[in-house]
């Protein structure tokens, strides 16, 4: 993949910022992306997000069924250091991971403390699909009235996320990436509810 690192990642950063400040809004990181392009066992959007956010100053943890060599690759690309879930600044859940594993990790990850709420984990979660017509209703800062979001996850995962963000400003920020290089974000300030019938 040809990438002018600084320049392209700045575009990625702008898009992350756009989606993070407008929760639920889907941004396209790169047009016409095929999954195998980057030669890595993760979504292209996850890769770009990691390249943008990770550096030698932060730690990361990958939740996956069988992708251990991704650790080395990410370390080599970004100089970030692997860490256990409880300490990691970034937690990456790959698409092969079951919802239960994500929930377990969500319960263990760091959410900051009242003096330093920024010392919390940022999640990058892969979901095959992302769309704006779904059961999940988002409200809060950055959303005019309400926004809808559909991911591969059920109510259970969102309940554990709500559990972690209930004492503002503590909490986690979540970035979803899909197969076609799109992202959507759910920061800790967003309130979630579920529409009954779909």
């Amino acid at each position: 993949m040809a990438m002018v690192q600084t320049h392209d990642l700045q575009q990625v950063y702008r898009k992350l910022l756009h989606s993070m400040s407008r929760p639920g809004t889907i941004s396209i990181m790169e047009e016409n992306v095929h999954q195998s392009d980057n030669g890595l066992p993760c979504n292209h959007a996850s890769f770009l997000t990691m390249m943008t956010l990770l550096d030698g100053e932060v730690t990361f943890h990958i939740i996956s069924e069988n992708q251990t060599d991704l650790y080395n690759k990410i370390s080599e690309y970004t100089l970030a250091k692997p860490a256990p879930i409880q300490e990691a600044d970034y937690i990456i859940a790959l698409r092969d991971v079951s919802e239960n594993k994500v929930i377990q990790a969500m319960e263990q990850c760091k959410i900051g403390n009242l003096i330093d709420p920024q010392l919390s984990a940022t999640w990058i979660i892969e979901s095959e699909t992302l769309s704006n017509n779904g059961e999940l209703l988002l409200t809060g800062p950055g959303i005019k009235e309400k926004e809808q979001l559909h991911t591969r996850f059920t109510k259970n995962m969102w309940q554990s996320r709500n559990e972690q963000t209930k004492e503002h400003p503590l909490g986690v920020d979540v970035i979803f990436t899909d197969d076609i290089a799109r992202i959507a974000c759910v920061p800790r300030t967003t309130s979630l509810s579920f529409s009954e019938v779909k």
Partner: protein, 372 residues
């Protein structure tokens, strides 16, 4: 009351910046970076030290851009520093491995390894040299050639590198100084996390080493003159190059032999001996020596000695003396912070001042009413 961002005077500001460029160019002379590097050694060292960014080239560029203003050059360097990615952390340096250019002790004449005066202004007459007004390159070249020849004739070549032992080690052997265990806790980084009080020693040393040369010197001097309790004897001043190594970032098994050498930095290091009275186990007062430590980028001897005084002052907080108060010392010696705060006073304060005027007018009016 909150601050309101206002925009205005754009054209006037643009014209002012043009005028600044005009002032830099109007003499129609260009100073090359190389010229600054080879002739303004001390200035480059001071800028690097105050900006805590070791890069002679960038320091020289900042000096050129700032037209020689120290505070501006340091500001430019600090701003640039904040944009740089942190790729690696260097390994702990043992300063015994310094390739020493100059090394003196004011405590003993015959220190192990001997005194090495090196290059310094200390023994020169402070008389203006009017010959420098018309220097000739050819004469300089001749002088250099003579100097190099006489060096070659007087020096024996050696295959091995000799390192100078620390003066304090010699005193430690006599049990005149306490031996401490090496403290290997990772240092705080004041450029990543804001300074908290009470500050750790690592944080204090970082603030002191990047302090404004004049401010550090002034406070060190104040301590000597009685606004502090520390009057040291300089155990050792050494100036020289320190080799810097980094570890491989990803390899799990690390071996000292596999570390990468990434270059040298020139530093000045000072160990001051400070007599202090301590109570022993029988509650009797005993005289003991402690060390004040100073280290700065480049050859910055006065600042480094002052730093060693302040380090020792801050190790022993005493409320009566300002130089022993870490908030007083550490929060006021930073160049960017102090010059920045002072120069912000030039920014418009129209509303705050108007409100002060209003209150004074009101008070005067009321006072006049009372008189009547």
């Amino acid at each position: 009351m909150g601050y309101v961002a206002v925009k205005g005077g754009t054209m006037a500001i643009e014209a002012s910046i043009k005028r600044l460029t005009y002032d830099r160019l109007k003499g129609e002379e260009i100073i090359e970076i190389q010229t600054i590097l080879s002739t303004m050694r001390s200035l480059v060292d001071q800028v690097m030290s105050e900006s805590s960014l070791y890069s002679p080239f960038l320091a020289a560029l900042a000096i050129k851009q700032a037209e020689g203003s120290m505070e501006e050059a340091v500001f430019l360097m600090r701003a640039h520093r904040s944009t740089l990615p942190r790729l690696y952390y260097s390994q702990t340096v043992q300063s015994e491995s310094m390739l020493v250019e100059r090394r003196i002790s004011a405590s003993f004449k015959d220190i192990p390894g001997g005194q090495l005066l090196g290059s310094t202004n200390d023994y020169t007459h402070r008389l203006l040299d009017f010959n420098l007004a018309n220097e000739s390159l050819t004469e300089n070249k001749e002088w250099l050639q003579d100097y190099r020849e006489s060096l070659q004739n007087n020096m024996e070549a050696s295959d091995s590198v000799t390192y100078f032992p620390k003066v304090v080690d010699y005193l430690r052997k006599e049990s005149l100084f306490e031996e401490y265990e090496a403290d290997n806790t990772p240092p705080d980084d004041i450029t990543k996390e804001s300074l908290q009080f009470p500050a750790s020693r690592s944080a204090r040393l970082q603030v002191l080493t990047r302090g404004q040369t004049g401010a550090v010197t002034a406070l060190g001097y104040a301590s000597l003159r009685g606004y502090g309790q520390v009057h040291p004897t300089v155990g050792e001043v050494r100036v020289g190059d320190l080799p810097i190594y980094v570890e491989h970032p990803n390899e799990v098994e690390q071996d000292d032999e596999d570390q990468f050498y990434i270059g040298d930095i020139k530093v000045t290091e000072v160990e001051s001996f400070v007599p202090i009275t301590k109570k022993n186990e029988h509650n009797e007062e005993e005289l003991e020596f402690e060390i004040g430590y100073g280290v700065c980028y480049g050859q910055n001897e006065t600042k480094t000695i002052a730093m060693s005084i302040l380090d020792q002052c801050l190790e022993h907080p005493e409320w009566e003396y300002p130089t022993h108060d870490e908030e007083f010392v550490l929060l006021h010696i930073d160049s960017v912070e102090s010059t920045g705060f002072i120069s912000h006073l030039k920014l418009p304060h129209y509303v705050t001042f108007q409100s002060k005027l209003d209150s004074i007018r009101q008070i005067k009016k009321e006072a006049k009413k009372d008189e009547d």
